[in-house]
């Protein structure tokens, strides 16, 4: 009897070729996607040059030398506006808009100079940063630190630096090589935790040991800078010293937010569920066709246009309600600032829901049966969610995957929510996201309409 049940189940499965294909195809597809993202896709350094700006409020010889060292780094793309005299507030504004990832500000001391070091380097450094791309900020910070080290080593004796040179041959180290060694170490070792993680790495172990000693007295910068680990709550400024030079990292977008990263993940999850719900909801159309309800509907005053539009609006409404409830929960429990961003939130949520609903109807009209819809929608939605940043932040992916992500609703929606909750930008900056999402919804609905012609009258 047990064998009969086994054989029955197997024969049923074999008689559903679509399911047979999906049984083997789905795991391969998802394995490939995640292998791409986590295997080759995730980078330990920014995938493209980091847009930064410099404000030199000191303009002495040492600060100029530091700037020159920084500019030698090919991974940093310096914004020329800063050189024309951009203020800190302007820099913050540009960071908030996403034009810059960071701004390196060299600031004079406000107090009297005490030590020799302070007389030689009478300034401190503040990095105004957008921590939403933690890899990029970490890279900027480590580059500043490495450049400071090189500058200090070229100006101070080993005794003044306080670093034992025994057996290390510090004085023999060529500064550019040293900086390169630091970066190489970071590239090889840093994953997700960008800042200050410098570990020994051949071929330049000596320089790395120097770096370790230089940074051994630093606070637990890594954890404090990593909002994935602690949510960044209440830590807008992290301070440290490199050879006595004060370096501050100020998270421009973090100030006053309870837990801004939560909003990013709320957006990612919301879009994924919108897509799942839209495809499931659209499946009703296939059921209606199968049980001849569609015939009855179209035999009335109802047209296919009205039917699809009605379902589109309904699913968009339901999706909006669903996401709203989720964000209300997020605001109550996780402190997402929903109340102050209601306008942008509703615009983005309605546009995303319309897009997801249009896409769901497109899939439903494309498929012949519920089983086919379930299979295809699972593949497509999970793929879109993986590529679009619902599962893994897109800035962690390599450049090609980041570009591929722009083909998904998820990426555009998450970018929009990011503007609202993370960057706190006004709603008029949501134009591209709203346009892409709404237009996508309309285009997919139009394709669904064309596909549904075959159901109207043969």
């Amino acid at each position: 009897m047990i064998w009969n049940i086994f054989a029955l189940s197997f024969r049923q499965w074999i008689n559903r070729p679509w399911e047979v294909v999906l049984t083997f195809f789905l795991p391969i597809v998802f394995f490939s996607i995640f292998a791409l993202i986590f295997g080759r896709g995730i980078r330990s350094q920014p995938s493209q040059s980091v847009p930064v700006s410099l404000i030199d409020e000191v303009k002495d010889l040492q600060s100029q030398e530091l700037i020159q060292l920084l500019k030698n780094d090919p991974q940093l793309r310096f914004d020329t506006l800063g050189e024309g005299g951009m203020s800190g507030e302007q820099a913050k504004s540009r960071i908030q808009r996403g034009d810059l990832t960071a701004c390196i500000v060299i600031r004079p001391f406000s107090h009297s100079l005490n030590s020799d070091r302070e007389k030689l380097f009478p300034w401190s450094i503040r990095i105004l940063a957008d921590q939403s791309d933690q890899l990029a900020v970490g890279y900027v910070e480590s580059t500043v630190r490495a450049s400071l080290t090189r500058l200090a080593m070229s100006k101070l004796s080993p005794e003044e630096t306080g670093i034992s040179s025994t057996g290390l041959g510090v004085n023999q180290v060529d500064p550019p090589q040293a900086a390169q060694g630091v970066h190489q170490a970071e590239e090889d070792e840093v994953l997700l935790a960008p800042a200050a993680k410098l570990t020994p790495n051949p071929p330049d172990q000596r320089m790395n040991r120097v770096s370790q000693e230089l940074l051994s007295d630093l606070p637990q910068v890594e954890n404090e800078l990593d909002p994935l680990k602690n949510g960044s709550a209440g830590k807008p400024v992290v301070e440290e010293q490199v050879l006595g030079i004060q370096v501050q990292v100020q998270n421009v977008l973090d100030a006053g937010k309870a837990n801004p990263v939560v909003s990013m993940y709320a957006a990612g999850i919301a879009v994924m569920f919108l897509l799942f719900n839209a495809t499931a909801g659209s499946g009703v159309l296939i059921d209606e066709r199968a049980n001849q309800t569609l015939d009855r509907l179209l035999g009335s005053h109802l047209s296919m246009d009205q039917l699809l539009l009605g379902k589109w609006f309904y699913m968009a409404f339901l999706g909006t309600m669903q996401v709203t409830v989720m964000f209300i929960w997020a605001s109550r429990v996780f402190g997402v600032n929903l109340v102050e961003h209601l306008d942008g939130f509703f615009m983005m949520t309605v546009a995303t829901s319309l897009a997801a609903s249009g896409f769901g109807l497109f899939l439903a009209t494309l498929c012949q049966s519920r089983a086919q819809l379930n299979g295809i929608s699972t593949v497509v939605v999970l793929t879109m969610s993986a590529l679009g940043g619902s599962m893994v932040p897109r800035y962690l992916m390599n450049e090609s995957l980041q570009h591929a992500g722009l083909l998904t609703f998820n990426a555009w929606a998450i970018d929009g929510y990011d503007k609202i909750f993370w960057r706190e930008l006004p709603v008029n900056t949501l134009g591209p996201q709203l346009a892409v999402l709404t237009l996508s919804g309309v285009i997919f609905l139009s394709i669904a309409r064309l596909l549904a012609i075959r159901w109207e009258s043969k």
């Binding site: 049980n291 001849q292 309800t293 015939d295 009855r296 509907l297 035999g299 009335s300 109802l302 009258s457």
Partner: protein, 325 residues
């Protein structure tokens, strides 16, 4: 059955030379028929005969390649027949996650009804289906017969003048079937023309005034049951004799008599035989047959004379060959 009352009126449905092809398969091959106003017409045919295609053409769900359909004298046009035509598909084309009342309201609304008129029709439909006391219950919890009644009611919410019914009683118990027949009767009494597609011969025979039999995309018979019986079988009747053979051995004379009368013999037991045949002029020929059998020394214990049923007529027109399509 008097169908002369229909002859002078504009037909509810008139189909002329309707043709439809799906790829290489011919679904309709020059179909002609009429449904008179107030008439109940049964549409019969084996599977794949073209009945569903014909009904879908009438319901504007399929566009015919050739031919003409007129509804109440007007050519079938997009949107032109919505208020006069009601369609009740074989499948339960209702929403099981709505209550009976919600289903009726929805289908009323999509037929353009609202306000007081809608309320009245919902009330009428619940009463008509005998489901007033279950109006607030989800249809998913209804029995098969109750679902069928709601399915039927949703198709007539807008009080159509013509109703296309596709297997309205499939899968329901005799009590529910009788209720559905009563419901159809009341529609007919109000002047609604009904085209009933069915495989249920008893249903067609009992519920329809006239029958149209389709086969291979064509109308092969059209008329009342008497006319069709006359065409297919004429005046012959089925005769069935039960013969008791005392010795268990068939007398030679009996065998030659049965052979001459072209009777088929079936053994029920060694002593009991059943002989059947189709006999013309029963009143004249049956006594002669019985006399001959008596002379052969066996006893006829039972004689049964059957009028041909619609089942026989149907098989006569369409053949007994399976129509697996």
């Amino acid at each position: 059955m008097d169908i002369s009352r229909f002859s002078d009126e504009i037909p509810a449905i008139e189909v002329r030379n309707l043709r439809k092809r799906f790829g290489r398969q011919i679904a309709l091959d020059g179909v002609h028929f009429r449904l008179q106003q107030g008439e109940r017409l049964g549409l019969l045919g084996p599977n794949g005969a073209g009945k569903t295609t014909l009904v879908r053409c009438l319901a504007r769900r399929i566009r015919a390649d050739e031919g003409e359909i007129q509804i109440l004298g007007a050519p079938l046009a997009p949107g032109g027949t919505l208020s006069v035509l009601g369609v009740v598909p074989q499948e339960l084309a209702i929403y099981e996650d709505l209550t009976a009342k919600q289903n009726l309201k929805f289908f009323g609304r999509i037929h353009g009804m609202s306000g007081r008129r809608l309320k009245e029709r919902v009330h009428w439909a619940l009463d008509w289906t005998g489901l007033s006391d279950r109006s607030g219950q989800l249809v998913r919890y209804f029995s098969g017969g109750m679902k069928r009644r709601i399915n039927l009611a949703c198709g007539v919410m807008h009080a159509p003048k013509i109703l296309l019914l596709d297997e309205p009683t499939v899968g329901v118990d005799p009590q529910s079937r009788e209720r559905i027949y009563t419901m159809i009767d009341s529609l007919s009494a109000e002047g609604c023309s009904v085209l009933l597609t069915t495989h249920h011969m008893e249903e067609a025979e009992g519920q329809c005034e006239r029958l149209v039999i389709m086969d291979r995309g064509q109308i092969v018979a059209d008329g009342t049951i008497d006319v069709l019986t006359g065409q297919a079988i004429g005046s012959s009747r089925y005769v069935r004799l039960r013969i008791h053979v005392q010795s268990g051995c068939m007398p030679r004379d009996l065998l030659s008599t049965l052979e001459r009368w072209e009777m088929e013999m079936v053994s029920e037991s060694d002593l009991e035989k059943i002989a059947t045949m189709r006999m013309h002029e029963v009143a004249q020929n049956l006594p002669n047959l019985l006399e001959e059998i008596h002379r052969s020394g066996v006893l006829v214990t039972d004689v049964e004379v059957q009028s041909p049923s619609l089942h026989d007529v149907f098989l006569e027109f369409t053949g007994a060959q399976l129509r697996d399509v």
